[in-house]
């Protein structure tokens, strides 16, 4: 076993060494290009979001609101003093037509690709090494001035063994957020997206695998919380630290709609609009660095056998998340339970009561941050047996848009113990 571990480590180093010498980070994904800022503005190690990235997401892909009484940025820039001010004003004015049309100045497209080397001790086909797991995703995102935000992801290529493949078509996400409907805090989100249940989008993580609480499926039911669906959602940040979301999902081939709701509250840290907390520079307090976010959510829906639509499964999910941040340390916990009346779509119904729990401890290293140590524990009981996963991992970003992850999945089930080592290289441009 030792030589295998050594092989994986050597491979990791072989990938990493040519990249170590790089001195400057030039992340160039869509938002970076658009806002001319580095990835670390919104991410810890991409694509995991930091507090500011969470606020940017909740704010419909628009930077935090202008303060009351402030002049518009363009006017202020135009009145700027000195050469830099004039240069900045020039940047704002030179494409006035494009700006007035509401069109992003740069085509808001980017590509994220990843390539994995997987070693599976218990591979079904006996092929323990797999170098062919890869994906290429085209992304688009931005805002039409401050009126609406938009986001899309299109799977250009996804390896068939990728467990995240959740739909046969290639368009994974496409939605628009109409911000601040008629001057209210309410945003309307419409299109194909991940209904807001958990605190974290499926992409909001450093390691490769999704949280079990978001990814699990009961029996043959195609539903998982991270599956993107055709939905209409209203959400709002209330009082800066309370976030509410509720929506309906169009079930394919039936008249009924699924419904869901989410509430989250944040204590300490940057608020949901991206404003920093007030603190005293002359006095230490634990709240200077501590941020605690709590969430609760529920989903009620039904689905049916794709071949015999009369056989239906009514289900619900309820769950809660906790996200604790203190300086470089982050602890995430999530629990979901629920009930499925007929998850295997069989004539004789068999109820299932899934219970899934996941927790992740993460510590960031470096200044700027370029390394993370992670340990995740997951417990999954969906009625077909209990699964426990222990996932230690390390991640390194030689540049802000290039990431290497080395993770080991030890999966303990009632029948078998799976051991999977994975080296993943991903990059975004």
């Amino acid at each position: 076993m030792n030589y295998r571990v050594i092989t994986v480590v050597l491979l990791f180093l072989a990938f990493a060494l040519p990249l170590v010498c790089a001195q400057k980070a030039h992340a160039i994904a869509a938002f970076t290009r658009q806002h001319k800022t580095e990835c670390s503005t919104c991410h810890t190690l991409y694509p995991e979001l930091n507090e500011y990235g969470q606020a940017f997401l909740k704010n419909g892909y628009v930077y935090s609101e202008k303060r009351k009484g402030d002049k518009g940025a363009d006017k202020t820039a135009a009145a700027g003093k000195g050469e830099a001010g004039q240069a900045d004003a020039g940047k704002s004015d030179k494409n006035e037509g494009i700006r007035l049309s509401g069109i992003p100045e740069l085509l808001p497209l980017s590509i994220t690709a990843n390539q994995s080397i997987v070693y599976n001790d218990k591979a079904f086909d006996g092929d323990k090494w797999d170098f062919s797991t890869r994906s290429v995703v085209l992304q688009a995102g931005g805002a039409f001035r401050e009126l609406a935000g938009f986001y899309a992801t299109f799977d250009l290529f996804t390896h068939s063994s990728n467990s995240l493949l959740n739909d046969s078509n290639k368009l994974d996400e496409l939605f628009m957020v109409w911000r601040h409907l008629f001057g209210t805090p309410v945003n309307i989100k419409f299109g194909k997206f991940e209904p807001r249940l958990s605190l974290w989008k499926k992409s909001d993580k450093i390691i490769v695998t999704s949280f079990a609480t978001s990814a699990f499926k009961a029996g043959s039911s195609p539903f998982s919380m991270e599956t993107t669906q055709d939905a209409l959602e209203a959400n709002a940040v209330v009082g800066r630290r309370l976030f509410l979301a509720g929506g309906v999902v169009d079930g394919k081939g039936r008249n009924n709609v699924d419904a869901y709701g989410h509430v989250s509250v944040k204590f300490g840290g940057t608020d949901f609009l991206g404003n920093e907390p007030e603190l005293d520079f002359d006095r230490e307090s634990i709240w200077d660095y501590l941020a605690l976010t709590l969430a609760a959510y529920g989903y009620s829906g039904r689905n049916s056998d794709p071949f015999v639509t009369s056989i239906r499964n009514n289900f619900y999910r309820v769950g809660g998340d906790v996200d604790l941040l203190y300086k470089r340390l982050r602890l995430r916990g999530s629990v979901v339970t629920g009930r499925d009346t007929n998850p295997d779509f069989v004539p004789v119904t068999e109820h299932a009561k899934p219970l899934v729990f996941a927790s992740e401890l993460e510590y960031l290293f470096g200044s700027p941050v370029n390394f993370a140590g992670i340990f995740r524990y997951e417990y999954e009981d969906t009625g077909t047996g209990k699964v426990r996963r222990y996932i230690p991992a390390v991640a390194y970003i030689p540049l802000q848009n290039v990431k290497l992850v080395l993770q080991y999945n030890y999966e303990n089930t009632s029948f078998i113990n799976n051991k999977i080592a994975l080296l993943d290289v991903s990059f975004s441009f």
Binding site: H35, K36, T37, E38, S40, T41, T44, N50, E51, Y52, Y63, S64, K66, R67, D70, K71, A73, D74, T76, A77, G80, K81, G82, E83, A84, G85, D88, G269, T270, N275, E276, P277, E278, L279, F281, D282, E284, D288, Y289, K327, R328, L364, G366, S367, P368, V369
Partner: protein, 119 residues
């Protein structure tokens, strides 16, 4: 006349960008505050800023924010409230690795530079 032209050419050749109240050196990525123009009482603060801030971004960003009064990324006004907010943001951001005292002196320095820039 020849002397005048030579002098003017030398002035043009060796001149660098500067702002009404804040002296700067360089341009583009190398744009920075002129260390010689920083009062000696704030030189230590400037050293903290010079070393810490460039870990993640160039000093150009800070210079532009202070001299124009507009934060170049967000497009929002860069005033005393903003220097404090950015200070807190950098304090809490692990990338900066700054402690409270370091952030405090940088905020004080930025406030001083804002005052100078507004003259």
């Amino acid at each position: 006349m020849k002397t005048f032209i030579c002098v003017m050419a030398a002035v043009v050749l060796f001149s660098t960008s500067c702002f009404a109240g804040v002296k700067t050196t360089g341009r583009g990525d190398t744009l920075n505050f002129d260390a010689a123009a920083i009062p000696s009482s704030m030189r230590a603060s400037f050293d903290v800023m010079r070393i810490r801030c460039i870990k993640c971004h160039t000093m150009e960003r800070t210079v532009v924010a202070i001299t124009t009064g507009v934060a170049p990324i967000t497009g929002q006004p860069f005033d005393r409230a903003a220097t404090r907010a950015y200070g807190i943001k950098m304090l809490r951001k692990p990338d900066s690795n700054m402690n409270k005292q370091e952030v405090k002196v940088c905020v004080d320095l930025m406030n001083y530079l804002l005052d100078e820039a507004s003259r």
